[in-house]
């Protein structure tokens, strides 16, 4: 049992923290809320140049040869500053499915492009029924002479607007779980992408697929094994999202304590009042509890150990804990915190999106409940 970072991890963390502090100030986050693309190409290039898109991938593809765990450390730091750039998506929803489920040819061809930032891929899972179940997938992929013809509508696809590959989950058989994953170029004929306006001002899209033709070689992983891909990537996604929330929680805690020290009312800093002390100590305790439960799951996932329970514990806990931390912060900040110009609301709006991404608290509690034999 060793909860400390090793040298590489610590260095990565320090570098990322410094980098993001400089490159991703609050002004940048605000600017990207209204940006057409939702990210800044110059900053994205700098991130690419750090090599961070290659953290969990093998060196032969241009990666760092590290693991998911190290990528989580990055995500925690990205979460701290609410990084708008698609680091999470490009690596976790684009690169990792290909790395884990792709054949050698796909990996050789696509991973270097993803790692070098030449290409951005994303994952299209959700449909109109937004539950995370095989049965909610209605999108059809039928065999045709030249490959597959895919039709359907995908909802809530993150960063589809800037992705050139959409890894799409579609139905390929009659059984509930007869799903497969396909790599679809976003330029393919029959695709139309329209953006959603969301609470967290991020980029999510609706994708319409109208008889989109793709070659048979674009299948990712085995036919009818797409649900396995979803389950695995959603586990990584749940933990990755939790890491972002952890970083965000830490920042909210720090900022709130700082405010409590400096804001005075009734002739003294509000941090001297029992209620405010209680608020701050509750936040600190929640955040303290969050770190272990997330990294335990991240480590197990990175080690390819069975981490089903840990993932569900981490995501259900963090979905709630981060929401609570933001709520307490608002309470300490009073009126100023819910104005558009204050930083806290940037965090609390995104907390909602993170809470429900890759399964909300109830979803993961249900899952854990089954794992406990209920």
């Amino acid at each position: 049992m060793d909860l400390s970072l090793d040298e590489t991890q610590q260095m990565l963390k320090n570098t990322a923290k410094d980098f993001f502090a400089t490159e991703c100030p609050e002004t940048h986050v605000r600017e990207m809320e209204n940006d057409k693309d939702g990210y800044n190409k110059q900053l994205w290039e700098k991130i690419v140049n750090q090599g961070w898109l290659g953290v969990p991938f093998a060196e032969k593809y241009g990666g760092f040869g590290l693991t998911f765990l190290e990528f989580c450390i990055l995500l925690e730091e990205a979460g701290r500053v609410l990084l708008p750039e698609p680091l999470f998506h490009a690596v976790l929803l684009g690169g990792m499915p290909i790395n884990i489920f792709g054949n050698e040819k796909q990996k050789d061809e696509l991973l270097p492009k993803i790692i070098s930032g030449e290409s951005i891929a994303t994952l299209a899972f959700h449909e109109e029924d937004d539950s995370i179940l095989p049965s909610s997938i209605q999108c059809q992929a039928s065999m045709s002479t030249n490959g597959y013809t895919i039709s359907g509508t995908k909802m809530f696809v993150p960063f589809a607007n800037i992705s050139d590959m959409i890894i799409t989950i579609a139905r390929t058989g009659d059984k509930d779980t007869d799903l497969s994953a396909f790599i679809i170029p976003s330029t393919a004929e029959g695709i139309s992408i329209s953006e959603l306006s969301t609470i967290s001002s991020d980029k999510q899209s609706v994708i319409n697929l109208d008889n989109v033709q793709i070659p048979a070689t674009n299948i990712l992983g085995q036919k009818n094994k797409g649900w396995e891909l979803v389950e695995q990537i959603f586990s990584f996604g749940a933990i990755g999202k939790s890491c972002e929330m952890l970083g965000a929680s830490e920042k909210v805690l720090e900022g709130t304590v700082e405010y409590a020290k400096t804001r005075t009312q009734f002739g003294r800093p509000i941090g001297t009042f029992g209620e405010i002390q209680r608020h701050c100590s509750e936040m600190a305790t929640i955040v303290e509890g969050t770190r272990f439960v997330i990294y335990e799951a991240a480590w197990k996932l990175a080690q390819n150990k069975n981490a089903k329970k840990e993932v569900s514990m981490a995501k259900s806990w963090t979905s709630d804990s981060h929401k609570k931390v933001c709520a307490i912060s608002h309470q300490v900040h009073g009126g100023i915190g819910f104005t558009k110009e204050h930083w806290v609301q940037l965090y609390s709006r995104r907390a909602k999106a993170a809470e429900i991404a890759f399964g909300d608290g109830n979803y993961h509690r249900e899952k854990l409940s089954k794992l406990l034999g209920f």
């Binding site: 029924d129 049965s135 306006s197 609470i199 009312q265 309470q331 009073g334 558009k340 609301q345």
Partner: protein, 397 residues
Amino acid sequence: MRFAFTEEEDNFRDEVRKFLKSELPNNWDGVAGNNLEEGASDKEWDFALEMRKKLADKGWLTMAWPNEYGGQNASMMKQVIFAEEMTLARAPGRDGFGIRMLAPTLMIHGTEAQKTQYLPDIAKGNVQWCQGYSEPESGSDLASLQTRAVEDGDDFVINGTKVWTSSAHRADKMFILVRTNPEAPKHRGISFLLIDDMKSEGIKVNPIIDMAGRHNFNMVTFDNVRVPQKNLVGELNRGWYVGATLLDFERSGVEYSSRCMALLTELIEFAKTNKRGGKYISEDPNITKEITEIYTEINVSRGMSYKIADMQSNGEVPNKESSMSKLFGTVLEQKVADLGMQILGMYGQLGPESKHNKLKGKIEQEFLSSVSATIAAGTSEIQRGIIATRGLGLPKP
């Protein structure tokens, strides 16, 4: 003891309901967000003013006023019923500042001239007032306010900044607390003034946009703004006590429970008629348990409000009860909004402007607005302090 309304009260409720049904557009759904009865857009605002006139014509806005000022001395329960029905219907048009705050203050502390000048317009719904109380450095600690008014000839000259001024950008006039004696102890150097024209030279209204993206609050700056001395209400330097005046007009907080019930009712309907993962959302025990709890809590919250109305009917003055009602009711607003987000799942992210939204994107707006519930108009922390010290007699910290 009687937990039912009288026939007369039931009839009044029906009358209000019928009126609202006929006056509100078909499928009227209110303006999204639970803290902005009047709405944020110009169109919403115009409609609210139109409704206000009609409500004034009905005599309902001033029904709580004493007969001598043209009111009806209406019973507390009748006022509660009116508030409930307006809130349940999400109907705009009430006037918190003029009718419920300034008018009672003038009735007690105003000169005859002030009463004659201001009350009739307020009663008719002709004028929009706003309230200049909070300042950037004086939030919970309001009495530390620093906006200065200095006597100069027949005028006061005002300099300073007010903040969280709801509807200042819509308002014609403002009542304001200013410091007229900076040497005196903080509660004893404050005066209560009336500003007749928000367009006066030196007044600047700066919008504060909230996290739901809407404009309700403002920061108002005063740069040598002149106000005639006759606009002083009550004695000089006694404004703190003038400002604290409240007649026993309905302030039971019944809006909390009504607002919650309106939303919960929609959520229940939605959960019963929408499926997720092949099952109705209402078949999810996590959801139904929460609905059941909140349903009960809404009933508890309503009870707290009825209790306050009952006390007022009996000539008692609620103090801790109002704080309890707010403390409990505002947390409830946050719970309902959060439940709504749970029920809507991924769709909870989508606001009114998104074509794929559910329930018109209302839940996203309610959720964002609900953040301020436990903060605005006296934070939960302040309410608990009032309950502990004024209510339970615990010594001040």
